[in-house]
Amino acid sequence: MRSFRADLHIHSCLSPCADLEMSPRAVVEASLARGLDVIALCDHNSAENVGAAMRAGFREGLHVLAGIEMCSQEEVHLLAIFDREEQALRLQETLYRHLKGTNRPELFGDQIVVNEDDEVVFFNDRLLIGAVQLELGRLVEDARRLGGLVIASHIDRPAFSLLSQLGFVPKDLALDGLEISRYQDPEGARERFQGLQGLPLLTFSDAHFLKDIGNPCSTFFLEAPTVEEIRMALRGEQGRHLS
């Protein structure tokens, strides 16, 4: 068992609001430069850059998990994180079926699908910044059923967070953890959020720019950087834990 520095919430240039320099390869290189051991690429409502990031990671020696940052009907952001690209793509199918509208790049930003060699594959024209018209509980269930880890994004933020949209953490929601953003200091976070439905608090960067990757990250003690091991760490099972 050893420690793994993990940043499981990083966007790529597929997210309209992320910087164009965030190609999957650039994200992988910046993550290695920051000393991270494992990352998850989580674009808004889409996993179309996940495969490229995983291949770039494999080539460069970084473990990359397949993520999506889902936006529910209530406009709550949630991270769904998987071991394999196919799982994320299956979730994406459901999200796309319930996501309406067309992107307006001049208003929301470009949505670029890029391969592992920094070559543009195509421009995604869905309204990825929009809300999937499915309720929160359904999205959590779908992601869990596919084997995903589900974490409520930046719960301290005044927009698009479980607390800003719903006021409290619903009791019956099968979450694995709550993410605290880099805008909230750790002391304040413990005071405000510790013990909410007994869920562990995690810190990830939610990077939209290369410079923000890994700041902050979370450290896990695991056998291997897999979703199942991370889930065990979040529950404090069999010696796995979150530092």
């Binding site: 406009e75 208003l107 929301f108 809300a131 005044p158 927009a159």
Partner: protein
Amino acid sequence: MKGAELQKLLGVEVAAGARGLEKEVTSGYCGDLLSDVMANAKEGAIWVTIQSHQNIVAVAVLKRLAAIVLANSRIPDEETRAKAEAEGIPILLSALGAYQIAGRLYELGIGRIEA
């Protein structure tokens, strides 16, 4: 009614995008879910919300809204102000809640249901 006249009648401060106050306000909409506003607000509407995230400006441009009123003393952050300024979307600030603001707008004849 023009945005500028409405702003004076409401007695609210303009946080950004003042040049957009020349636009005609033809109806009103209240909502804090951006997806709902995108689906239902009409062109020319004045939008009352507590959301201050920069995406409100993109929504207002997309739907050609006349102005945004932030209720409950909400303050827009720097990015929101800068975007509103660049796009000419007026952001008005009010200490009142959305219900009261909508009530005053209605009294002023904005967005009345035709009998």
